[in-house]
C-alpha cells in the first residue's frame, strides 16, 4: 500500500482527534518501522488494518465509520494537492467516471508499482453513474467516503445521491450508483 495512505491517515488523526492521540495510536501498534511512513514508500496493507483497529479501540468509533471519515479527509487532500485533475470538471458524476481512465493512469506514471483499486464503470449517463469497486484491500467504506466527499466537493449534496450495494461475489466487490435526482 502506498505510503501516502498512511501519512494522510496519521495527519487526519492528528487533526480530527489530537497529536497525542496519533502518537499513542502509533506507539500502541508496535509497527515494524515505528510508524515512520513516507509518501514515496510502500508498506504492508496489514499495518493499515492494525492502525484502524487501534484507533477504533481508542475512540470507540466503528472501523467502517472511521474509514468513511478518512475518505472525506483524503478527498479534500487530493483536491488540494492535485488540482489539475479537477480542471474543467464540473460535476461529481463526470469526475468519478474518469477515476480509472484518467486519474489512475496519472498515478501509475509516478508510482509504477502502485496496486490501485478498480472502479469499473457499468453504465454512465448524464444523470446516473453505476460502477463497481474491486480491491484486494476491501476498502469499500473508504471508497464510499471518497465518493461522498466528491459529491460535496462539487456542491451537489442536494442533487446527487450515492447508493451502495455490497455484491455477493468473490472478492466482495461493491456497486456504487450516483444518481442525479433534480
Amino acid at each position: 500500500m502506498k505510503g501516502i495512505v498512511f501519512t494522510k491517515f496519521i495527519e487526519m488523526v492528528e487533526q480530527k482527534f489530537s497529536v497525542d492521540m496519533a502518537e499513542d495510536m502509533i506507539e500502541a501498534c508496535q509497527l515494524p518501522n515505528g510508524g515512520a511512513y513516507t509518501s514515496v514508500g510502500t508498506y504492508d496493507h496489514q499495518e493499515m488494518v492494525t492502525l484502524l483497529v487501534q484507533l477504533s479501540k481508542m475512540t470507540g468509533e466503528a472501523v467502517p465509520d472511521l474509514l468513511r471519515s478518512y475518505g472525506h479527509y483524503l478527498f479534500g487532500e487530493f483536491a488540494r494537492l492535485y488540482p489539475v485533475f479537477f480542471e474543467g470538471v464540473t460535476s461529481s458524476l463526470v469526475f468519478a467516471g474518469q477515476i480509472d481512465e484518467v486519474i489512475h493512469v496519472e498515478v501509475l506514471k509516478l508510482y509504477p508499482d502502485a496496486q490501485l483499486p478498480k472502479f469499473e464503470t457499468l453504465s454512465q449517463s448524464e444523470n446516473e453513474l453505476k460502477m463497481v469497486y474491486r480491491s484486494d484491500r476491501h476498502l469499500g467504506d473508504l471508497a464510499e467516503g471518497l465518493l461522498d466527499a466528491c459529491i460535496i466537493h462539487f456542491g451537489e449534496q442536494g442533487s446527487v445521491r450515492l447508493e451502495r450495494e455490497n455484491l455477493k461475489e468473490p472478492g466482495d466487490p461493491v456497486c456504487f450508483t450516483m444518481i442525479r435526482h433534480r
Binding site: E23, I26, N33, G34, A36, T38, V40
Partner: protein, 461 residues
C-alpha cells in the same frame, strides 16, 4: 533508587521526541528511496542513450548503403544512356549508306516489282531511322539533358508549316486536313523546333490512325496571369479511337494502344511519351479524349512574350505552298558525288532546281555573286567546311541573306548548337528525306513571300 538520579520523564516531551525520531526515520527512508529512484533513472537514461546511439549508427549504415546503391544505379543509367547515344550514332552511319544507295537505285530504270521492293527497303530504312531518333531523343530527355532553345519565332508560321508538311500524307489517304488559327501573337520566344516536333508527332499519329474523314488542328493563344503566351492546341481526327484502357498508358514510354496496334501501325511507342515530356518542359500539359468517332489530342504550352507584341490575322494557312510552289533560288553545297546526286534528284522531284557548289569557298563566291533564297550546306568539306563558309557568308553585304540549312550526319545537340552558332538557320541530319527537303523549301517559300519571319504572316488564299 539511589543510583537512579535521572529526572522523571514528562510524557509530552517523550511523545515529542518519539515523533521527532519518527519523522527523521521517515525522511531518511524517503531520501534512500529517492536515491534509489535516481539511480534507476540514470541507468534507464544510459540505456536509452546507448539505444539511440545504436539506432543512429544503424541509420548511418543504412544511409551509406543507400547512397552506394543510388550511386551504382546512377552510374548504370549513365552508362546505359551513353551506350544508347553511341549506338544510335553508330547505327545512323551505315543507315546513311543504305538509304542513300536506295534513293540512288530509285533513280535508275526499274521494273514494277523491283520498284515495289525498293520502296519497301526505303520505308524500312526510314522507319529504322525514326526509331533511332526517338530512342536517342528519349534517352536524352530521361537523362535530364533536354535543353529547350530560346529564339523568337512566328507561331502561326510554325503551325502552318506543320500542317503543310503533313498535307501530302493526308491527301495520299484521301483525308481532309484543316488548320484553324485564332488570334495569335506575331512573335513569341521559345523553342519552335520542339513545338514542331510535338505537332508533327500528333499530326502524323492522327493521319496514321484515320482511314477516312478529316483531321483538324485548331490553335488559340492568350496571355496568362504570369504574362506568358499560353497556346491551346487541339488536333481532332475521325479515326478509330482509343479504348479507355489504353488511354491511361498512352503517354507512358514503350507503350502503344495495344500490341495489335504495334503490328498493324508500327512505331516505337515513344512518340507520345516524348511529346508529353516536351510539352511539360514547355510549361504545359497534354491530354487526350477518345470515342468511337475519333480522338482529340489537346495540349497547351507556354511561350515568352517578345518586345514587339503583335497579333497576326487569323485564318492564314500554309496549304497553298505545295499546290503553288514559289520560284526559289537554291544552292547545294556538297563535295560528295553520291550525295550530290541524291540531293539534286530529290529536289527535282519537288520541282525545285538547284545550283551546285563543291567546296565551301566556291559556295561563298557563288552566294556573293548570285541572289540565293536557300542554301543546303554540307558540314564536312575539304578546304573550307560548312561552318566556316556560313560565317563568311554572314559577313557579306548582300541584298538579302539566304537561309542556310546544314546537312550533317551528326545528330547531337552540340552539333546543332555549332550550326546555329555559325549563323545557320536550320538543320537536316543525313540521310535526309524528301519530307525534310520539302519542309525546308516550304519554309523558305513562306519566308520569301512574307519577307521574313519578323513580320506578320500574310492571310492565306
Amino acid at each position: 533508587m539511589l543510583h537512579d538520579d535521572s529526572p522523571p520523564v514528562n510524557p509530552a516531551v517523550e511523545r515529542a521526541m518519539r515523533r521527532a525520531a519518527r519523522e527523521r526515520a521517515a525522511r531518511q527512508e524517503a531520501e534512500a528511496l529517492l536515491e534509489q529512484k535516481s539511480l534507476e533513472l540514470f541507468r534507464t537514461n544510459e540505456k536509452l542513450r546507448l539505444q539511440a546511439q545504436e539506432l543512429e549508427n544503424l541509420v548511418k549504415m543504412r544511409t551509406a548503403a543507400l547512397e552506394k546503391a543510388v550511386e551504382l544505379a546512377q552510374s548504370a543509367t549513365s552508362a546505359k544512356n551513353d551506350f544508347l547515344a553511341m549506338m544510335s550514332h553508330e547505327i545512323r552511319t551505315p543507315l546513311n549508306g543504305i538509304i542513300g544507295i536506295a534513293d540512288l537505285l530509285s533513280l535508275t530504270a526499274l521494273d514494277e516489282e523491283q520498284s515495289a521492293h525498293l520502296n519497301l527497303l526505303t520505308q524500312s530504312g526510314h522507319t529504322l531511322l525514326a526509331l533511332i531518333s526517338h530512342i536517342l531523343d528519349f534517352t536524352k530527355i530521361e537523362a535530364g539533358h533536354l535543353e529547350l532553345e530560346e529564339r523568337e519565332f512566328d507561331p502561326a508560321y510554325e503551325l502552318n508549316i506543320a500542317v503543310a508538311t503533313h498535307r501530302a500524307m493526308a491527301l495520299e489517304k484521301g483525308l481532309e486536313l484543316h488548320c484553324l488559327l485564332g488570334e495569335l501573337p506575331a512573335l513569341v520566344r521559345g523553342d519552335n523546333y520542339r513545338l514542331r516536333q510535338v505537332l508533327s508527332n500528333i499530326l502524323s499519329n492522327a493521319i496514321k490512325f484515320t482511314s477516312k474523314g478529316q483531321i483538324s488542328l485548331t490553335a488559340n493563344a492568350a496571355l496568362d496571369s504570369a504574362g506568358k503566351w499560353r497556346f491551346d492546341i487541339r488536333v481532332k481526327d475521325t479515326g478509330i479511337g482509343i479504348s479507355p484502357a489504353s488511354l491511361s498508358r498512352l503517354f507512358e514510354p514503350f507503350r502503344q494502344a495495344d500490341s495489335s496496334t504495334t503490328r498493324k501501325f508500327g512505331g516505337t511507342g515513344l512518340g507520345l511519351a516524348i511529346c508529353k515530356r516536351l510539352v511539360e518542359a514547355m510549361g504545359g500539359a497534354i491530354a487526350v479524349v477518345s470515342g468511337p468517332r475519333g480522338s482529340t489530342f489537346e495540349f497547351h504550352v507556354l511561350f515568352d512574350t517578345t518586345t514587339v507584341p503583335q497579333i497576326s490575322p487569323p485564318g492564314s494557312d500554309g496549304s497553298e505552298i505545295l499546290a503553288n510552289p514559289c520560284e526559289l533560288s537554291v544552292l547545294l553545297v556538297e563535295d560528295n558525288a553520291t550525295n550530290q546526286t541524291v540531293a539534286l534528284s530529290l529536289m527535282e522531284k519537288l520541282g525545285q532546281k538547284a545550283n551546285l557548289a563543291v567546296t565551301g569557298r566556291e559556295a561563298v563566291e557563288m552566294i556573293a555573286a548570285g541572289n540565293y533564297d536557300l542554301v543546303f550546306m554540307d558540314m564536312q568539306m575539304p578546304e573550307m567546311d560548312g561552318l566556316e563558309a556560313t560565317k563568311s557568308v554572314r559577313k557579306l553585304t548582300l541584298k538579302k541573306q539566304p537561309r542556310i540549312i546544314a546537312l550533317t550526319a551528326n545528330a547531337f545537340e552540340a552539333d546543332r548548337e555549332r550550326c546555329f552558332g555559325a549563323g545557320m538557320d536550320g538543320f537536316i541530319s543525313k540521310p535526309f528525306r524528301l519530307a525534310d527537303l520539302r519542309r525546308e523549301i516550304c519554309e523558305a517559300c513562306l519566308r520569301a513571300r512574307n519577307g521574313g519571319p519578323a513580320e506578320p504572316t500574310a492571310a492565306g488564299g
